[in-house]
């Protein structure tokens, strides 16, 4: 796959190609593994909130309001890997 491939998918609203790419990215080329990685990140995030701890909503809302969408999208990818790493189940060959 390439950027051109992804842009064509966006232009054609080919959501299957796009989500497949995201899964392949998170799964190091393995789509099934990528799907599990996405689930793993969300479960890890959920576990942290089960006891309803105090969180810094002010900074969350401020960040969402102040930052551009591309920066937030980049942050989204960072958060995925943050929670995957935090889960302790690291499938990747390398390191962040």
């Amino acid at each position: 796959m390439s950027l051109k491939y992804l842009k064509e998918a966006v232009a054609n609203n080919d959501t299957e190609k796009l989500i497949r790419y995201v899964r392949l990215h998170f799964g190091d080329g393995n789509e099934a593994a990528g799907r599990k990685e996405i689930d793993k990140a969300w479960m890890e995030a959920l576990k942290l909130l089960l006891d309803v701890p105090a969180t810094d909503r002010e900074i969350i809302l401020q960040t969402l309001a102040d930052r551009d969408a591309a920066t937030l999208a980049h942050l989204f990818f960072h958060l995925h890997f943050y929670f995957v790493q935090r889960s302790g189940e690291w499938i990747h060959d390398g390191q962040l």
Partner: protein, 166 residues
């Protein structure tokens, strides 16, 4: 300096066709050739530079962007006299177990330092260059990253460059 007189000789004919066949969706189309360059002086007199896709960088600076879905198109200078302990790997796409034990398996900086001391090569450029190989935009990689590194290599008066993919 190197001799580009055979610049029209293709290093690997059909390279991009092979890439596109192995990796459907790569969609890389190039009609021009990869220029070859002849070494104009003996290796023992040549100043060598090193370009690596291993994601190796000095400790304590902005790490490579290993999470970006389209890749990181920046490079890092790695002082050629650095010790492995001064360096760190930031990448997600190749096994690092061996490299974490001995960085030279992926980034042979100490071997190149030895070659320079022993006179196998004439010397090393002040810096080596490193980036991460995960890049989805081949055109941008060629147009910006590769061009920038090439300029730096020339600025450091390299006679030859060792290219090493990770």
């Amino acid at each position: 300096m190197t001799d580009n007189s055979e610049a029209t000789v293709q290093l690997r004919p059909g390279l991009w066709a092979t890439v596109n066949k192995r990796y459907p969706g790569s969609m890389i189309h190039k009609d021009d050739y990869i220029p070859l360059a002849k070494l104009r002086k003996p290796l023992g007199e040549a100043r060598l530079s090193f370009v690596s896709t291993a994601g190796v960088q000095p400790v304590g600076i902005m790490p490579f962007d290993t999470v970006h879905p389209i890749g990181d198109y920046t490079f890092r200078r790695v002082p050629s006299d650095a010790k492995p302990a001064d360096l760190k790997i930031h990448q997600l796409k190749y096994p690092t177990t061996g490299a974490l034990r001995d960085l030279n398996v992926i980034f042979p900086i100490e071997r190149l330092q030895e070659f320079a001391r022993e006179g196998v090569i004439g010397g090393l450029t002040e810096n080596f260059f490193s980036f991460i190989g995960y890049n989805m935009d081949a055109e941008r990689l060629e147009r910006t990253l590769a061009e920038s590194i090439a300029e730096q290599v020339v600025a450091e008066c390299a006679d030859a460059v060792l290219l090493a993919p990770a």
